[in-house]
Symmetry: C2
Subunit: 455 residues, 2 copies
């Protein structure tokens, strides 16, 4: 039997096993699920061993990593597969049509927490491996597997782990299926991710809330002062005003411009998806350029003073906000944190105290579009999905991709089989059966296609 | 026995009775205290009847009013005494040195919720009346009493009540002791209060929180948009930029300028009291002018997006803030609400929805400084406190004072016996025994002095 025939003849088993995998409530953010996480890791590692991939559970300080490998020849290229077996919390439960950890099929979708993010997607690769091992077919690549258990709670221990096991994890290329296609009818290869920098700003005025009648007009109000800071971070064209913010920004390339124009993107449809009144962004760039190839700055939350019902006539003692910036090559997250910190101290009103907590972040990553890896992935996807993929980017960040580049020197192929409306972090998370099937076949083809690349 | 001798010989009784009054937890803001409010009103009304003032409890739709009167002659002037028997909530309880509704004496202070605001202060007048009635002395003025039960929860029913009982409440002058002296060693007559306008602003972007990676840069962020609005409400000199905001403002008079300069105010001491880094206000005005005679605008609270620990990388769906403006003569609260509403809609970014809820407010009030009433009050205070009062204003608002002027045509004498550090709305509310005593003697003298004014 050939690997492809094995997949064809084991459709039901593949799905049943995924359902078993999905039943573990492996919620990494909640300590009450610590035991479930371990059970899930043991099950996953056991399954890898069962299908002939040598696997073990490795501690990280937090939730464990499931590692696996099947190394066939030093002549072969080595592929590191990254995925995560932990999931987002399922809450709010009342908005689910089903039970989050009891998967069902509805309207052609697998409905369960983790179905698309990321158990369902990583499962396509596991089943592709099995198609080789179960049929005693020769695996033409060396396989290494890193399945993480804390992606949904910040991957706190992963960078340290990758550094510590640098030699064990060494690979020519990394494969990650933890994102989305361009649309339901258009598969894609993601060749770039934005980075992230995060800061928190606290502005302090009086040492306690003061009566706004007795004191109003004589001392500075920290909310007004914070608002002035925030307003000072963009100019009227949507450019960010922080000194040196764009110093290291690589301009949108001609390749990107032309690829993005080819995509079936429509501003009106996109606007509808956001539920906003109008689009708004940096002058001189298209929507896709704005979300994929240009850096941004958003206030994610703001707090200060009285927030209950009715009026409370105070000058509040303090106000805070959280700011994240999405970065593009070659911006450095710490450098950007320092620059915004310095700029805020510069523009902050002199009559309040201001403190900027710098949390750093992750750099943007890009996979060379002219190399052999993307071509190989493209061919595999075309075979698996029956349609050639488009090249797209993603505005979000997957920090570990930067770590792989930085520590292992390996690029990452971002091959998302999901859809942007799969409710990855929301109630009713789902993964279409077609995407599961096509993704599995593409994962199989990928093994063959990657083996042809000269490392 | 003369009235003054009665006060001298009943010092202990006066204090014991006040303690009884303070023991009622008459918290108007909490429905669980509704019964306590009624009991307190019954006790107070009963006491007035007992000392010879005809009193009744009158419903208002909310908490009742305690009304009382002793009308001696149509030839006499009629004085309406306003006070409130309800109190602020005592929370947070853990910050109290004592039990809020079990008054004690500590370091010369009466320590209890309501001691200065306003039970202790209104009690000085009640005891002054009693000094006359108990000694069968001839009361040389007609007395009307309006003790409110919802001052601390917004006096929602008072304006309607005053309008409904306009004839019953008709008076030549109103007396209110519900504020503070200039300092511990300097009694004062307050001849003006600022008014108030209150609005709430809501800015809406996407119809739900969006991922700031996937969407950041392409749609407007409501927090950033709200910050821009707030920042646009002041110019670099601390002036308010709202179109027409200063149209009706009466400039600081020469009388005010010279009176304020005489006061023992020191900016450094004042700054220390606020716990702020530096003073800040409208260019071209002194601190006392800024807080007493100039209009202001403060954001009292702001909310939007994620406010928990750590980062949540979202573009929030909405952001709101509460804004109060302190007004001076002759600004109209509704007019000012309309002006800020119009201005905010004008400067709000076009890519978000914006809504301004206008709550109106109260106009500023001023007592003519060249009339006979202030002179009479000044003489009474000098006799009661042993020192001539200064003329000051108050930056806060007492909306009912505007109602008295507007509906009854009567000016109000604001004769505060408390201190600004009496913790009126904070834990450990207190009222100094000296202020209680001096205030009671001043209240007694006031009866005599007011009777001399030709109405």
């Amino acid at each position: 039997m050939k690997p492809k025939e094995f997949l064809d003849s084991h459709k039901k088993e593949r799905l049943d096993q995924l359902f078993e995998f999905l039943r573990f409530p492996s919620v990494s953010a909640k300590s009450e699920h610590k035991g479930d996480i371990v059970k899930c890791a043991e099950w996953l590692s056991g399954h890898l061993n069962k299908i002939g991939i040598s696997s073990k559970i490795m501690p990280t300080g937090g939730h464990p990593v499931v590692y696996g490998e099947k190394l066939s020849s030093t002549d072969y290229i080595t592929v590191l597969y990254y995925g995560h077996y932990d999931v987002q919390p399922p809450e709010p439960l009342n908005l689910w049509k089903s039970t989050p950890f009891e998967p069902i099929i509805e309207d052609g979708y697998i409905l369960a927490r983790g179905s698309t993010d990321d158990k369902g997607q990583l499962w396509t690769h596991v089943k592709a491996f099995e198609a080789y091992t179960a049929t005693n077919s020769k695996l033409p690549i060396n396989i290494k597997i890193l399945f993480e258990g804390e992606e949904e709670s910040g991957s706190e221990n992963l960078e340290r782990f990758v550094k510590e096991y640098k030699d064990m994890l060494k690979a020519d290329i990394v494969v990650v299926s933890d994102s989305a296609q361009f649309s339901k009818t258009q598969p894609a290869v993601t060749f770039g991710l934005r980075g992230l920098s995060f800061v928190e700003v606290k502005v302090t005025g009086p040492d306690r809330d003061l009566h706004s009648g007795s004191f109003g007009g004589s001392i500075g109000n920290p909310i007004n002062a914070l608002a002035k800071i925030i307003a000072g971070l963009h100019d009227e064209n949507g450019h960010i005003t922080i000194d040196g913010f764009y110093d290291d920004v690589v301009e949108v390339s001609n390749f990107e411009k032309s690829e993005f124009k080819k995509l079936p993107h429509k501003d009106e449809e996109y606007l509808k998806k956001t539920g906003s009144k109008a689009l708004h962004g940096e002058k001189g760039y298209s929507t896709l350029e704005r979300i994929w190839s240009r850096p941004t700055l958003d206030v994610n939350g703001i707090t200060g003073g009285y927030q209950g019902e009715g009026a409370k006539t105070i000058i509040p003692s303090w106000a805070t906000c959280k700011i994240t910036m999405r970065l593009v090559p070659n911006q450095n997250p710490n450098d950007i944190c320092n620059k915004i910190g310095k700029f805020i101290m510069k523009i902050c009103a002199p009559y309040v105290h201001c403190e900027v907590k710098k949390h750093g972040g992750a750099p943007a990553v890009i996979v060379p579009t002219d190399g052999p890896w993307l071509d190989a992935a493209g061919r595999a996807i075309e075979k698996g999905f029956g349609k050639a993929p488009v090249f797209m980017k993603e505005g979000g960040s997957i920090p570990v991709v930067g770590t792989f580049k930085h520590v292992l020197g390996a690029d990452t192929l971002l091959l998302g089989w999901g859809q942007s409306d799969d409710n990855a972090h929301s109630p009713n998370e789902r993964f279409h059966l077609d995407d599961f099937e096509h993704g599995t076949y593409a994962a199989l083809e990928l093994i063959e296609e990657l083996s042809k690349v000269k490392a």
